[in-house]
């Protein structure tokens, strides 16, 4: 079955500390992985996607096919990074369906 798992509902770190939001997936074909972010009172928006291999706001994510993971990382967290983060998956060549994880709330403390 196609599934995205985010094991942490809440992650609290201090400003300047490294942060890693975990995402594991199950998909029978070739996946395209995404991270979406929702800041307080704002719309859900794309943070980054694997195929672009970009670093956005200092965040990176590496697709590990062996471990079926797509963890989101940032070396030095900022208070403005506090938000809900969702990992999502679709087919690399088939965008008929998207699968989202349940989300991780990141709280960056001053």
């Amino acid at each position: 079955a196609q599934r995205v798992t985010q094991p942490e509902k809440l992650l609290s770190v201090f400003k300047g500390a490294p942060v890693e939001l975990k995402c594991n997936y199950s998909y029978s074909g070739s996946p395209e992985l995404f991270w979406y972010v929702q800041y307080s009172r704002q719309r859900l928006q794309l943070l980054l996607r694997h195929i672009s291999r970009e670093s956005i706001k200092g965040f990176t994510a590496d697709l590990n096919k062996g471990e079926t993971s797509f963890h989101l990382k940032k070396p030095f967290a900022q208070e403005e990074d506090s938000a809900m983060y969702y990992c999502a998956l679709s087919g690399l060549a088939n965008f008929n369906k998207f699968y989202f994880g349940s989300g991780t709330k990141l709280n960056v403390k001053p």
Binding site: R43, L44, Y86, F95, K97, F98
Partner: protein, 116 residues
Amino acid sequence: GAGVSQSPSNKVTEKGKDVELRCDPISGHTALYWYRQSLGQGLEFLIYFQGNSAPDKSGLPSDRFSAERTGGSVSTLTIQRTQQEDSAVYLCASSLLLAGGLDTQYFGPGTRLTVL
């Protein structure tokens, strides 16, 4: 330019009534998605439109749910005989389909549906 808009922003209805939720995608976006977000849950994919066609309706949770898209633009999600478990935020997103694949999904603000 204008982003994805959804109406109404809030809808309170009584159990058993029908409701209609509307999504206005970004002009020119051929792909349109509907999702449901229940309290404390992630986004549940409901349906995808490519133009006016929905190739796969299996994500709709029951036959009380239906969706259509006309003119390659506005989409409507209809829930018949609403039940309390239908209470959720319904999100719409639109995107361009490019030769190399899907462009960024842009989300609307959502419609919060409460079934009493």
